[in-house]
Each structure stands twice: as structure tokens, then as C-alpha cells.
């Protein structure tokens, strides 16, 4: 029991996940900076590795300003619930072995449910701020994240059909035991999942909800101090979640040579998620922001039909 709680709090658990989140934020910032011919964070820690932590502590120690007009319970609840949900969702990702810390049959469906909750929380955050920028940003966030949920869940089904299970841990287990990564049968699904997750994370080509040139900071305009710190932290955790989900569903998770030996699986997982994070940052560096109509039609005209074609292909190959 005590060992289990220690596991939950420290090594496959919360402390490890926090470190991973801060590290990937640093990696993302550094890589994007190098793509744009900048240096990125340099001063705190060696090569700026401690900069995300310093930013988090700095934001925590800032004054927390609450405008009079905000809907106080919702406004306070959104950052707390957003980071809670992000931490909880990360426990479904198998990192230290083929089995995740929490797993049950059907947790893939639960994962899509959690992602919908994150989208709704973003909308609620914008709506409860009672600010024009926030409201418009929240509406855009809801439209974008709910829209891209459809191709995302269709893309996630591909590996589930291949592995004949709806549990992330079992999909990883199947890939580890057969040695076939789901990306071989789901190349389209992999691309769709990457694009849709970029939209879910509201990263650059899809940063309409927080387009700073027109909407200040979108639905996060009124958040400051500890609330902003928790929001930023939730985004870092979501980046880990996105990279972890793609790694476990399409790239075999911790599977690789000698993955059964302790500490080897986690290294494979680390290498694969790093590659996924670098792909995501590369896409951020490559594209400029889409227009709203491009964002909506890109989802319904291209991504959804392609995702369905991917599933038809899978059914015909497996059937």
C-alpha cells in the first residue's frame, strides 16, 4: 500500500510527470527558437533547463487579480480542474512498462471524454471572465477543439481495431508482443492524430482561440497569478499527454529491444515522445495561423473523410 502510494506520488507518478512536462516545455521552446534563429531560454540552469520551473514559480508568486464582473466559482474552478484533469489523463499512458498505472477496458473512450471536458472547460473559462476578448476566444476554442475531436477519435480507433481492444495499455501490450507498430497499418491515422492534437493543444497553426494580435490572450485574458500558472502548467501536461498518446497508440509506447528490463522501456518511451514533440514544434515553426473558415473546412472537408477512409482500409485489410 505504502509502496503504491509512493509510486503514485513519485516515480511513475506525479513528480515524474511534472518533471517531464517542464522538460518538454523547455525542449519545445528551445527547438522553436532554434528554428526561428533565436536561442531561446539560456540563463536559468544549464542551457535554460530550469526556465519553465522558474516561470511557474514566478507566476505563482504574482498578484492574483480578479475583476469584479467575473463569475467567481467557475473562474476559480477552471484552472484547478484543467490541471487536475490533465494530471489524471496522464496516468492512463503506459510509461514504465506495457501496463499503465491506471487501466481498465475502455479507457481509450474515457480518454476522449477527458479531452472533451478540457474543451468545455476552455469555453467555460472564457465565458465566466465576462470580457469580450475572453468570450470570443472561448467560443473559438469550443468550436475548434470540439470539431477536431471527431477526426481525433476516429484516428484513435484505428489502433484499437488493429489490437482488438479499447484499452490503451492492451493496445501497447499487443504492439509490444507482436512487434508490429500500429503506424504500419495506420499511416493516415498517425498524420490525422498529429494535426488534430495540434488543434486540441491550440498551438500555432491553430491558435485562433488565443490569437494575440486580435484577441489579446483569447479565453485566458483575465487569468493572472496562480490561476495563469496552473493554466500554463495544464498546457505543458497536455503536451506530454498528446505526445504520450501518439507514442502509445501508434509507435508502440515503451516497446523496443529489451523493453522488459526495468529502465529500458522508459528510455524507449522517452526517445519516441521526444521525436513526437519535435514534430509538433516543427509544425508550429512551419505554418502561420489559419483563418477560421480554413480551420473549420479543413476539419470537416479533409480530416474527417480521410479518417473514415483510413478505417475502411483497416476493415478491408483485417477482414
Amino acid at each position: 500500500m505504502i509502496i503504491e502510494i509512493l509510486k503514485l506520488l513519485i516515480i511513475p507518478g506525479i513528480f515524474f510527470l511534472f518533471t517531464l512536462a517542464l522538460f518538454y516545455q523547455w525542449l519545445d521552446r528551445r527547438f522553436l527558437a532554434r528554428l526561428q534563429n533565436r536561442r531561446g531560454p539560456m540563463h536559468t540552469g544549464s542551457h535554460g533547463t530550469l526556465q519553465p520551473l522558474a516561470d511557474f514559480i514566478k507566476l505563482l508568486a504574482k498578484e492574483d487579480i480578479e475583476p469584479e464582473a467575473v463569475d467567481k466559482p467557475v473562474f476559480r474552478g477552471v484552472p484547478i480542474l484543467l490541471s487536475t484533469i490533465s494530471i489524471t489523463a496522464l496516468f492512463f499512458i503506459p510509461i514504465w512498462g506495457v501496463k499503465a498505472f491506471v487501466h481498465f477496458e475502455g479507457d481509450l473512450i474515457f480518454m476522449t471524454f477527458l479531452m472533451t471536458l478540457i474543451a468545455i472547460l476552455a469555453f467555460l473559462g472564457g465565458w465566466s471572465s465576462t470580457n469580450r476578448f475572453s468570450t470570443i476566444g472561448g467560443l473559438r476554442a469550443a468550436m475548434q477543439t470540439l470539431g477536431y475531436e471527431v477526426p481525433l477519435s476516429l484516428a484513435f480507433i484505428g489502433p484499437a481495431i488493429v489490437a482488438k481492444s479499447l484499452s490503451i495499455s492492451k493496445i501497447v501490450e499487443w504492439q509490444a508482443s507482436t512487434g508490429i507498430w500500429a503506424i504500419i497499418l495506420n499511416p493516415l491515422g498517425f498524420g490525422i492524430a498529429i494535426i488534430a492534437l495540434l488543434a486540441e493543444l491550440e498551438k500555432v497553426p491553430f491558435d485562433l482561440p488565443e490569437a494575440e494580435t486580435e484577441l489579446v490572450a483569447g479565453w485566458q485574458t483575465e487569468f493572472s497569478g496562480r490561476k495563469l500558472a496552473l493554466l500554463r502548467f495544464a498546457f505543458d501536461l497536455e503536451l506530454v499527454l498528446a505526445a504520450g498518446l501518439i507514442t502509445s497508440l501508434f509507435l508502440g509506447g515503451p516497446a523496443g529491444p529489451f523493453y522488459n528490463i526495468p529502465w529500458v522501456g522508459v528510455i524507449w518511451f522517452f526517445i519516441k515522445t521526444t521525436i513526437v514533440v519535435l514534430i509538433l514544434s516543427n509544425l508550429r515553426g512551419l505554418f502561420a495561423r489559419f483563418r477560421i473558415d480554413q480551420m473549420v473546412s479543413g476539419c470537416w472537408k479533409y480530416l474527417v473523410p480521410l479518417a473514415i477512409i483510413q478505417i475502411i482500409f483497416l476493415q478491408l485489410v483485417l477482414g
Binding site: M1, E4, K7, L8, I14, A61, E63, D64, I65, P67, E68, A69, P79, I80, S83, T84, I87, F91, K99, F101, V102, L108, I109, S129, T130, N131, R132, F133, T135, M143, L146, G147, E149, V150, S153, L154, I157, A160, I161, K164, L166, V216, T221, E222, G225, R226, A229, L230, W300, K301, V304, P305, I308, I311, I312, L314, Q315, L316, L318, G319
Partner: protein
């Protein structure tokens, strides 16, 4: 691992407690600051925005919500087809694909009218 620690409600509870601790620490170490009218007003760059809720057009949103629901159900139906993959689920998916392709020009037609 049938232990209570690795169940969903426990993990959710622990995550909530950890987040609340961060929130509490933030409240402890942050300066309190005085409340001025500028701080209590909603953020706006130079313009005076009244602090009232915007009325939004929910009609378009309803259509969107219905689409979202239909496709989520479709995704779930396709998800549980892993038991018996083959021509039947593929046929089902082809019908929805045709529906999506046919739907887009129809929607454009409606917008013009």
C-alpha cells in the same frame, strides 16, 4: 494490481489535492495588493468595454453540436467493430463517408439561399 491506489477515483482525488496545494501556496506567497477600479474592470486596451456578457448566436452552435454527437456515435460504433472486422463495418463507414461528402455541397446551397 487490484489495490485501491491504482483506481481512477483515487488518482483523480490525489491530482485534485496536489493542484489545490499549488493553488494554496500561490495564495500564500503572492502579494495581496490593493483593489483599484482599474484592476476590478475587465481588461480592454484603451477602449471602455462594459462588463456585460456578450449575446452569442447559439443557432449555429446547435448544428455543430448535433454533428459532433452524430460523429461521436459513429466513432463509437466503429470502435466496437474490432470484434468482427470485415465488409459490414467497412460498408457502414462508406455510407457515412458518402453522407459527409454529399452534406458539404448541400450546406453550401443552403447558405446561398
Amino acid at each position: 494490481m487490484a489495490s485501491i491506489v491504482s483506481t481512477l477515483p483515487f488518482v483523480l482525488l490525489v491530482s485534485l489535492i496536489i493542484t489545490l496545494i499549488f493553488y494554496w501556496i500561490g495564495g500564500k506567497i503572492a502579494p495581496k495588493g490593493t483593489k483599484t477600479p482599474g484592476k476590478l474592470a475587465p481588461y480592454a486596451c484603451g477602449e471602455d468595454f462594459p462588463a456585460e456578457k456578450l449575446q452569442m448566436n447559439v443557432q449555429n452552435f446547435f448544428i455543430y453540436a448535433v454533428y459532433f454527437m452524430i460523429f461521436d456515435i459513429l466513432a463509437f460504433v466503429l470502435a466496437i467493430s474490432f470484434v468482427n472486422p470485415g465488409l459490414m463495418p467497412a460498408f457502414f463507414a462508406i455510407i457515412t463517408l458518402l453522407a459527409v461528402i454529399l452534406l458539404l455541397p448541400l450546406l453550401k446551397l443552403k447558405q446561398k439561399v
